[in-house]
């Protein structure tokens, strides 16, 4: 991974791990928890869309799938919340297979619109089947995974680091190379004998699995799920995080997730103008930094070759 990268990662990790207990503030710990979950989501999105270049505008489908799975098992059936993790991942993967098969053959904007529509449909289902899903009020009163907020944070932080490491390893393996090749020229890959469909669907499934994991963690942190967990705005936020972090870098996307959520929370002091300022900043970043913000910044700081 390179000596400088390892040092950078270690410093970052020490910072993330060390700050919350130092600050000793339940609110800030909670903010960090959501930051880490956003990091998981952004990394999961970047793994598929950043590497293959197919923009998935419906990541919320997998996030919400994981979240509602947790809510059903723990909220409706009273099962131990730890069961939610495998359940949420399974549900998200199933969604990925269901959506992936018909839509992955579509080109650019069509794939984006198809994934967006899938999440929107699921949101409508969550609202309409109110007898099971609680409708727009959602399902509330879920148990938390770990009572202490600091403990919960370390769990989420560990899982986020695991996400980045695992996805990073896959990205660096032959699998990742194939994904990048698909981004370059899919027909050539096909001609070279690669089962493109398998790799696309498998990659989407992996992306969904981690998104669903994040969804479960989110559900048990919030202790509630609502149809907002399928919302297009969530999908778009995840894309923005990955974009600002640096497409295709995975660790950059995770940092983007952490950074943007932190920014949003700390800007509460701006009152009514908070979101406006945030979007203007985003506009500036998106316009001037086509490669994102975090990853290029690190490259600059680190110096030397890529």
């Amino acid at each position: 991974m390179g000596k400088r990268n390892t040092i950078g990662a270690a410093v970052l990790l020490a910072l993330f791990a060390g700050l919350p207990p130092l600050l000793h503030n339940h609110y800030l710990t909670g903010v960090f928890i959501v930051c880490a979950i956003d990091g998981i989501w952004a990394a999961s999105w970047d793994f598929f869309s950043g590497l293959t270049g197919r923009e998935n505008f419906g990541q919320a489908l997998f996030i919400g799938g994981g979240a509602y799975a947790a809510a059903f098992l723990n909220g409706n059936f009273g099962l131990n919340p730890w069961f939610s993790i495998p359940a949420g991942i399974a549900v998200a993967v199933v969604f990925a297979l269901l959506v992936g098969f018909p839509t992955l053959r579509l080109k650019g904007p069509y794939f984006a619109l198809a994934t967006l529509a899938s999440a929107a449909i699921m949101q409508q289902v969550a609202i309409n089947l109110w007898q099971y899903t609680g409708g727009s009020e959602g399902i509330y009163g879920l148990d938390t995974l770990i009572e202490s907020s600091l403990g919960f944070y370390y769990l989420v932080l560990a899982l986020m680091v695991a996400t980045v490491v695992v996805l990073g390893l896959i990205a660096r393996s032959r699998w990742g190379t194939i994904m990048r090749a698909i981004k370059g020229d899919e027909t050539a890959c096909q001609a070279a004998g690669i089962n493109v469909t398998f790799y696309k669907i498998a990659s989407l499934a992996v992306s969904a699995a981690f998104a669903g994991l994040g969804g479960v963690l989110f559900a048990h942190y919030q202790q509630a799920v609502t149809p907002d967990d399928f919302d297009v705005f969530l999908s778009i936020s995840v894309i923005i995080m990955a974009y600002v972090g640096g497409l295709g870098t995975i660790w950059g996307a995770a940092c983007g997730g952490i950074l943007l959520n932190l920014m949003l929370e700390l800007m509460r002091g701006l009152g009514e103008y908070r979101l406006w300022v945030y979007y203007v900043i985003l506009m500036v970043v998106l316009f001037f930094m086509r490669e994102g913000f975090v990853a290029p910044l690190w490259r600059r700081l680190r110096g030397g070759n890529a």
């Binding site: 449909i121 923005i240 086509r290």
Partner: protein, 284 residues
């Protein structure tokens, strides 16, 4: 029966006005303009501001509002979109942030409560025994006129042919001496003007609030997916199909399901014929 016919036509007309602009800019410049709903909202809020705050006469407000939106759209294209045009994701993202920013500005400037845009026609009109609100019939008429005018413009004028040429092959058009960049800006202006006009004309009978851009976008999406991205005739056809489906479901079946009609239409289209009714082949 006649009621459904007329109401369906009005719904379809407004859907068409939104969708045609969206599909136009995609067809010509390959831009998925996520700020399209914002154009619609700005049109409606301009109409409100000019009439209620500046007390200008209705006709003047309407024309001025459309002009403002057109200029806004062209400025956005020139300043923010053109430099990023090489990356479709970048264009998507920047238009998205424009939409989000506009929504926030509307919240801050006008508050969260809905505003009243006065209607041109304030009385019901009797059409063969069916009483329809005058403003809605006006919306139908204006939609037909504007879309028809756009169609004629593209088919019959030199500028229109230039637009067609650019939409087929921007580089070749450039070699022929057609300034592709300027064409893109003009088309964005037309697209914005249509969306703004939709906002002005339907503001009186729909809801004018800062989040109105979101409903407009979802609607536009469903129509262009079904009709085929980039095809104006496709959008018109799809608008009629979806508009009438919604009206029929509302009148004869269960009004609770009208929201799901457009989503089901999208799902069916993407599974059965992803290129839409009249779009180009889109498999990877």
């Amino acid at each position: 029966m006649l009621t459904v016919l007329i109401y369906g036509a009005v719904t379809s007309a407004v859907l068409a006005m939104l969708a045609v602009g969206f599909t136009l800019i995609f067809g010509v410049a390959r831009i998925l303009n996520l700020a399209h709903g914002a154009f619609y909202a700005i049109g409606a809020y301009c109409a409100y501001s000019f009439t209620a705050l500046l007390k200008l006469p209705l006709i003047v407000s309407a024309l001025l509002s459309v002009a403002v939106v057109a200029v806004f759209g062209m400025a956005m294209e020139r300043v923010l979109v053109r430099p990023l045009r090489r990356s479709s994701l970048a264009v998507l993202m920047i238009t998205l942030t424009v939409a989000l920013t506009v929504e926030q500005v509307l919240f801050i400037a006008f508050g969260s409560q809905s505003k009243n845009v006065p209607a041109f026609v304030n009385f019901p009109i009797n059409v063969h025994g069916v009483s329809v609100d005058g403003q809605r019939l006006l919306a139908l008429a204006i939609a037909v006129v504007l879309i028809g005018a756009l169609w004629l413009f593209i088919q019959r004028t030199r500028l229109g042919s230039a637009i067609l040429a650019v939409s087929q092959d921007p580089e070749a058009a450039q070699y022929m001496g057609i300034p592709a960049n300027r064409i893109f800006t003009i088309v964005m202006g037309l697209s914005a003007a249509l969306a703004g006009a939709a906002g002005v004309i339907s503001g009186p009978f729909l809801s004018v609030r800062p989040t109105m851009d979101q409903t407009a976008m979802i609607t536009a999406f469903s129509v262009v997916i079904v009709g085929g991205l980039g095809s104006i005739p496709g959008s018109i056809l799809a608008a009629c199909i979806i508009g009438y489906s919604q009206t029929i479901v509302a009148f004869y079946l269960n009004p609770e399901w009208t929201g799901t009609v457009s989503l089901v239409a999208i799902l069916l289209t993407l599974v059965l014929r992803p290129s839409g009714l009249m779009g180009r082949v889109v498999n990877a």
